[in-house]
């Protein structure tokens, strides 16, 4: 095509090759740098590595008796020097049913306590009526849980009160 383009040995071609290699090198450095970043930041969801890390961390946790207080804390000292029993012993008042509950048993309690509404969910304060809830939901007229000492426990079926699901927290005094 062009007269001066006579094979690879011409300075022009040489230069072109050289230039191309320059570009390629830059791109290689780019790729390497990015991979380096990914490797160091652990962004690569590489199963082998993850499993390895998992194993190592489990090992470390087992080997190290003074693990942090957030997990496995049986009579372990936390950063403030306090120890905590395995099962939290504090007694709270459930905001839903206002029973006294042990903190360590609170979650299962809530499951039962609030879960009864699950069948007939979708209750909001405003929409739940004393009316038409075919299934027994705590927000129905019966309001089995309002055996409360709260001053706000007006007889069941006050429209504002019906939203048991969200607890009477703003109403109740807890």
């Amino acid at each position: 095509m062009s007269a001066s383009n006579d094979g690879n040995s011409s300075p022009r071609s040489q230069f072109a090759s050289h230039c191309f290699e320059d570009l390629l090198d830059s791109i290689i450095v780019d790729v390497a740098s990015e991979c380096h970043r990914i490797a160091r930041l652990g962004l690569d969801r590489n199963l082998e590595e993850e499993e390895e890390e998992l194993r190592l961390s489990v090992q470390a946790r087992v080997a190290d008796p003074s693990s942090s207080s957030e997990v496995n804390s049986k009579n372990v000292v936390d950063v403030f020097g306090q120890t905590h029993p395995a099962i939290a012993a504090e007694i709270l008042k459930c905001m839903n049913c206002r029973q006294r509950v042990v903190a360590g048993r609170f979650a299962p309690h809530l499951e039962k306590c609030m879960g009864k509404g699950r069948k007939a969910r979708k209750v909001t304060r405003s929409t739940v009526a004393r009316s038409s809830h075919p299934h027994g939901s705590p927000v129905s007229v019966y309001a089995p849980y309002s055996n409360a000492t709260s001053t706000n426990t007006a007889p069941n079926g006050t429209s504002g009160h019906a939203g048991e699901e969200y607890a009477d927290y703003p109403y109740g005094e807890t």
């Binding site: 300075p11 072109a16 390629l24 791109i27 290689i28 490797a39 590595e49």
Partner: protein, 111 residues
Amino acid sequence: MRSSINRPPTPDVDEEPEKEPTLQEIINIKLIESGEKEKLMELLRERLIECGWRDEMKAICRAYARKKGRNNVTVDDLVHVVTPKGRASVPDSVKAELLQRIRSFLTSAAI
């Protein structure tokens, strides 16, 4: 004969007599100044991504990092690992295209 009159000024210490920029440097500068280098870079990048070259290189890096330990790799390491394979595995068509572009630039820049 009358050399003293036309004696070139003594070069200062910091102002070294610049050797003539080589042809290569001149071309390089032209390449950069005209923005063509950037375009070529982008073109090359794009082609290499399209043809999967980049993914291959990343896989190589990953394998190396896994072997060496994620936190023990340096950028230098990776560059050295990738460069030979990288240079060798550029598809011919990509290389040809780029060379063609460069050559036509040279032609148009009348060098």
